[in-house]
């Protein structure tokens, strides 16, 4: 507890030796502040896990996208068990088979566990063929059960497709669209906003008007209108591409405004003016002096733009205006939750909502943490 306090001088008091050290220390400072934000740290880990599982979704998911089984329509989630009906303990978890019957009162089809059929959980199971990371052909899946057993950890949908697999596979679309969309708007915003702020004059005036006009369109109807314009029967990749473009087209304006504002305020800082007077070229000033000054703000703004895109993609797909079958996304999966009797009878169909909320929240927390880290004057 008793520290010699003479050593407690701030790092800022140390003489600056060279530029690179200063530059890296800004990031180090951000990193230190970011580490203090517990929620953001946890969020970062959660997001890393989510994206990792999306990357390896084909391997992690027991079944592929096309797999369906009309025998198992609307099957409830299976329990992973360690103790069987006779009370015997098994080290290897197992699931019971499903027996379909009819509810004696409502005559509705329903499933019960068939305690006679035990399927132990297996790892590295041979199953459907897929391409690992889109490159290496493989047919190994992390988990599964032996045929004719089925593994429905989160139940099935109205076509008898495994929800767990579909959530994993859907995350590839749901998690990448906002990232790619924001990535494109980041580049657009940086270039257009930067040009607008740095050069000013008529260029600035024109760009500002354009941004104003685009922003005058309420986002949601514009999204809807543009999405409705996508031809209905086109390859998945092109559909994906269209949707990303639509999102980026609307989103870049916000980022461009941030960049422009920062450029204008930084441009008049003494050190930039000094560099200009010293005859440093425009491009060098931008890269050396302006970018480091606000790139952190831009990263924050970008992070905080992601949740909106996730929600938008979910909404569009939910309405059938976004990703369409055969591809899937969380929004597509949630279409089955649109009818309340569906939720009442098959409550597991709401599970994709959990992943949406989790992703949106973690991105929000991450953005908050980054913002606190990026702003040295914040309490």
């Amino acid at each position: 507890m008793m520290r010699p306090f003479g050593r407690r001088q701030s790092a800022a008091a140390e003489p600056a030796i060279d530029k690179d050290l200063n530059y890296s220390s800004q990031w180090r400072l951000m990193y230190v502040r970011f580490k203090k934000h517990k929620l953001a740290r946890v969020s970062l880990v959660v997001l890393a896990l989510l994206y990792a599982s999306a990357l390896f979704a084909q391997f992690l998911a027991p079944y592929g996208l096309e797999n369906y089984d009309s025998k198992y329509v609307n099957a409830p989630p299976m329990k992973l068990r360690f103790v069987d009906a006779e009370g015997k303990f098994h080290i290897r978890p197992f699931v019971y088979g499903l027996k379909s019957g009819r509810d004696p009162e409502t005559m509705r089809k329903m499933f019960t566990s068939d305690t006679d059929k035990k399927y132990p959980l297996q790892i590295f199971v041979k199953g459907e063929k897929y391409k690992f990371l889109g490159l290496i052909p493989s047919s190994t899946h992390l988990i599964g059960v032996e045929e004719p057993g089925r593994l429905f950890l989160l139940g099935t949908d109205s076509l008898g497709r495994d929800l767990f697999s579909r959530i994993l596979l859907g995350s590839q679309v749901s998690l990448s669209i906002p990232l790619v969309g924001v990535g494109i708007s980041f580049v657009l915003g940086l270039i257009i906003g930067g040009a607008s702020g740095y050069f000013g004059g008529w260029l600035d005036a024109v760009i500002q008007r354009v941004i104003e006009i685009i922003r005058s369109f309420p986002t949601l109807p514009l999204w809807m209108a543009l999405s409705a314009a996508i031809p209905p029967r086109i390859p998945v990749v092109r559909m994906y591409f269209y949707i990303v473009i639509i999102f980026a087209f609307i989103e870049w304006t916000g980022l461009a405004r941030v960049v422009r504002g920062k450029f204008i305020s930084l441009k008049n800082e003494d050190y930039v003016v000094a560099a200009k007077i010293a005859g440093v070229s425009d491009s060098k000033i931008i890269v050396k002096h302006l970018l480091p000054g606000f790139i952190s703000y831009l990263v924050v703004a970008t992070t905080l733009a992601i949740p909106g895109m996730i929600l938008a993609e979910t909404a569009m797909s939910f309405l059938g205006l976004g990703i369409r079958s055969p591809a899937t996304s969380w929004g597509v999966l949630l279409q089955e939750a649109q009818k309340i009797d569906n939720i009442a009878l098959y409550p597991w169909k709401i599970i994709p909502l959990g992943t949406v909320i989790l992703t949106v929240l973690t991105f929000n927390f991450l953005g908050d943490g980054l913002r606190d880290a990026a702003d040295p004057y914040k309490r």
Binding site: S216, F217, P218, L220, L222, M224, Q338, I350, L353
Partner: protein, 332 residues
């Protein structure tokens, strides 16, 4: 002030022009047009539709002219005759369709707006004054959750809850027996009951946003020296709170008024589709799906104009509320 207002209105005119061009462009985007869709439908129904029939229909509707000409006809009709075109789906003028749904749309939107501000402002103040208290964490958590949950699913969940608790999912805005009934006390009560879920769902993200903004503004204002000054004068804490930080924090909030109504208008679209509300959203949605281009376009145009108008109102409100801008135009 008048000068400022006029300047703002003049600046909005070119924006409106470009918006109309873009709207028209979007209307033209979908592959095929109404006629080809109509023809497809007809042939499914077993009625042959020849190329000549289609051409005749196009000529009739003015769809065979060059695009820019179509645009000018469209604008001309709007400006000169208040004619926004014809809705093929509803088989009546677009304006009539919009009129039909306008009343309820406005009602839902205005009630939602009132709900947003009445709920968010007190909570925002409370959270800032009692920063880091349990209540603060509770409302912050709630507003985060409100922000992260997609509207439409919230609607489904609330409907489900209402169904399990009250045995009625409260779909739509009226119970079946009142839909075509004349206005009465009972019908109004029925409407009020059915508005609870839409208002909560539509207002949720706006409320969550407002709480965060209000809280942040209040925290800023509470730490300002003018609060210390007021305290040093001997004012009571309550009086200080309402006269200084709250008044100043309300500025940016009040200026969102104009903009907020449009965002409710547009934000309600998906919720309305899920909840089957007889308001604009589903109408627009069906118009888009059915490529009823004049209706969809008019609606998009209407929304965009509303946004411009909202921004205009917000800017003027902000100027009017800020003594700095106000005195600038008072003339000395």
């Amino acid at each position: 002030m008048l000068q400022y207002t006029l300047k703002r209105i003049l600046l909005a005119i070119p924006v409106v022009f470009f918006i109309s061009v873009i709207v028209f462009y979007i209307i033209q985007l979908p592959p095929g047009d109404y006629v080809s869709n109509y023809a497809a439908e007809m042939s499914v129904a077993g009625e042959g539709f020849t190329q000549e029939d289609m051409a005749a229909m196009r000529a009739d509707l003015g769809l065979d002219r060059p695009v820019y000409e179509q645009y000018f006809i469209w604008v001309q009709d709007i400006v000169l005759h208040g004619d926004f075109g014809f809705s093929f789906n509803y088989n009546k003028p677009v304006l009539a369709v919009i009129e039909q749904y306008m009343g309820l749309t406005l009602t839902v939107s205005l009630v939602t707006m009132a709900f947003q501000y009445l709920v968010a402002i007190p909570i925002g103040i409370y959270c800032a004054v009692k920063q880091y208290s349990i209540g603060d964490y509770f409302f912050s958590g709630l507003s985060f959750l409100g922000m992260a949950t997609p509207h439409f699913l919230m609607a489904v969940i609330l409907m489900f809850l209402s169904y399990t608790w009250f045995g009625d999912p409260l779909l739509g805005l009226f119970s079946a027996e009142y839909v075509n009934a004349p206005w009465s006390m009972d019908k109004a009560i029925d409407l009020a009951k059915h508005m609870v879920i839409p208002v909560i769902v539509i207002g949720l993200s706006g409320t969550a946003d407002l709480i965060r903004v209000m809280r942040g503004q209040m925290l800023d204002e509470l730490n300002k020296p003018n609060v210390v000054t007021a305290r040093a004068k001997g004012l009571s804490e309550r009086k200080i709170l309402f006269k200084y930080p709250t008044r100043a924090a309300l500025n940016p909030i009040v200026s969102t008024f104009g903009w907020s109504l449009t965002s409710i208008f547009t934000g309600s679209t998906i919720t309305a589709i899920v909840l089957n509300l007889p308001i604009q959203g589903p109408v627009m949605f069906n118009a888009l799906l059915g490529q009823d281009m004049y209706l969809a376009g008019t609606w998009l145009l209407f929304m965009a104009l509303l946004t411009v108008l909202g921004t205009l109102i917000s800017d003027i409100l902000l100027a009017w509320l800020d003594p700095k801008i106000r005195t600038e135009f008072r003339g000395t």
